[in-house]
Subunit: 370 residues, 2 copies
């Protein structure tokens, strides 16, 4: 009646995520299921928290992996920090900044936004000027904008500016965590979230999140309950660290895999990984330049995990992308919004970031450009 | 630095979920990752929809598996159907009914509840009387109450009563779907959700959901956006069936596994499965009776997938549960709320529902009761 087994192609994943899952994480994924309150799973959570704190470079007690994708992490952060009517400043420099603003609007808060053209980043002065408009409760900002490949620099200075003006800083680290330095405590970032399937190279489905003391205090002092029961961080804290009270049936499979993936990252050492990822990205950038498809973002804030490459004149970007997938089994992505027809997005994240993948992509592109 | 690999015990899962994952679903889980917009994944979604429609016994176009646990399915249903201030009637006969009411309250709607003592179910007349209080937009009801093991009967009559009074019916099928008959279209249920890790025996992390024409119309005619971006069903419909627009990075791994699990269920045939599950449950009920731990719920509405068994006098329920886990690797659960010290909850769901598991549990209990 229904075709089985389903045939799945073996893709080289060089898009904006998911990255290729580490073989050890795939293996961990297939560990027999245990219950969401099994003492073994609770022990695994404790280790996972230690690993996540290391990767986020934080001591925050409230550090979990939520049962949802990175988008659920974004929503959890906003929904827990904000109450209806609260003022938020969103710095938008691409699709995911715009998504922060849209989610905030849906939550019934007052949204102010400042915007930069696609491919640009904010200066500290621009952020500070906007913070002076009125007293904001929260400043929300994307660290590594997946839609453009730009890294927002000066996070510590931006956090300091936010604090001077009485606002907390929420940082989207979906495409940065594990791929470039993220220093939650040293930079004094109040809250951050990420995703399991980018630089961490676990399967998608979990959203690492961390809330510092100031963010936690805001949650503790709420006058209204968090509108989302599913993403209520207090209940997560109770489930992970407190009385281990039932909240939802977390997927042991996904946690086995994330735990294994985090171990690989931490074993190599964060700094050593960052150096290796950058070297692979530079190999890609040189090759793209030679092919006439140079990186769109200036080197000063170009992201190693996600490169936007300019489509050469006369080349149909969508036909090339389709042929890469069909003929070479390589996935890359189209540009977003206004960049749809002018750039490709090429990811070198976690286990996908390997010299042989770079060479494979460059040689495939070369053959398709002819 | 961090212990690896993490050692995981091989549990016999006889609690209220997760059930044991089908071996074929475990294998599918370890299929190499593909992107969330890969044509192969979109083709898999189409098959998964066909399978889910069959399991829900519906033709509803809006039938998806959401990227979250069953709790996210509950929240998605409420958040999409209700707008702030809307009146909802929640019929509470256990913990999950109470959760429906709590979630609704958080969403800012007007909540009326009717309640039954733990272990009882509603008559159609009781529901109808409550529906006469005022014009409700929605009646929400749990089909198989996981906290008591009671099946709410007369769903078709309750749906008819709701419709007579201008309300839609939302049915929680978390512990019923795939385990006992669920006939969304024949019963005229307007919306329902479930979970992947109970009678479907896939890993947890996906929430099957279905919205019929009336429910969909309510969503289409909303005056306010759904407060949750993550659980916005319109965006799901766009991603699964429409333009395949990016919404979130769904976990291919979990979909591979759910697809494999649904295939197993459909291949056996729903009715044949229900008969087999009931036979295994009856084997358990007879054995429990002999051990002096009879089922708490009367046979007329006792759920084969979830049995509450009375703790024999003089037996410490929590010590027995701990020893079952530690010495026999068998997971069962404690009672909920007021039933915490007086019943155990024993699940026979999907792949966990096998005669050998029943016999193993009964013999372990017998040894522990001595």
């Amino acid at each position: 009646m229904f075709p089985m087994p389903f045939e799945v192609p073996n893709r080289i994943l060089l898009g904006p995520g998911p990255s290729m899952t580490y073989p050890a994480a795939m293996q961990a994924l297939a560990t027999p299921t245990i219950g969401h309150l099994d003492p073994s799973l609770l022990a695994l959570y404790a280790e996972e928290q230690t690993l996540l704190r290391h990767v986020f470079q934080t001591e925050n007690e409230w550090t979990f992996a939520l049962s949802g994708t990175g988008t659920s992490g974004m929503e959890a952060a906003l929904a827990n920090l904000l109450e209806p009517g609260d003022p938020i400043l969103v710095a938008v420099k691409g699709y995911f900044g715009a998504r922060l603003a849209e989610m905030s609007t849906r939550l019934g808060v007052q949204v102010d936004r400042i915007e930069k053209a696609l491919g640009e980043i904010f200066s500290v002065e621009e952020i500070e000027a906007a913070l002076q408009r009125k007293p904001f409760k929260l400043l929300a900002l994307v660290h590594a904008e997946t839609s453009t490949g730009a890294e927002q620099l000066h996070i510590a200075e931006i956090a300091a500016a936010a604090h001077r003006h009485g606002a907390l800083l929420l940082l989207d680290t979906v495409t940065s965590l594990g791929g470039i330095p993220v220093r939650i405590d040293a930079w004094e970032v109040d809250a951050a979230y990420s995703a399991s399937q980018k630089n961490l190279s676990a399967p998608s489905g979990l959203a690492p999140i961390t809330f510092g003391p100031r963010a936690r205090e805001v949650v503790e002092k709420r006058k209204t309950p968090v509108s989302s029961f599913y993403l209520d961080l207090h209940q997560y804290a109770d489930y992970w660290n407190g009385a281990h009270a039932y909240h939802h049936t977390a997927s042991a499979s996904l946690h086995f895999a994330l735990h294994a993936a985090l171990n690989i990252l931490v074993e190599e050492g964060l700094e050593s990984g960052f150096t290796r990822f950058r070297a692979n990205a530079e190999r890609l950038w040189v090759g793209l330049e030679e092919l006439g498809a140079p990186a769109f973002i200036p080197p000063a804030y170009r992201l190693p995990p996600l490169t936007t490459a300019r489509v050469p004149e006369g080349v149909d970007p969508h036909a090339v992308r389709a042929r890469l997938l069909q003929e070479h089994n390589i996935e890359i992505a189209a540009g977003f919004g206004a960049l749809k027809d002018t750039v490709w997005r090429i990811g070198l994240m976690g286990y996908s970031s390997r010299p042989e993948n770079v060479d494979l992509l460059l040689s495939a592109l070369k053959s398709l450009f002819r």
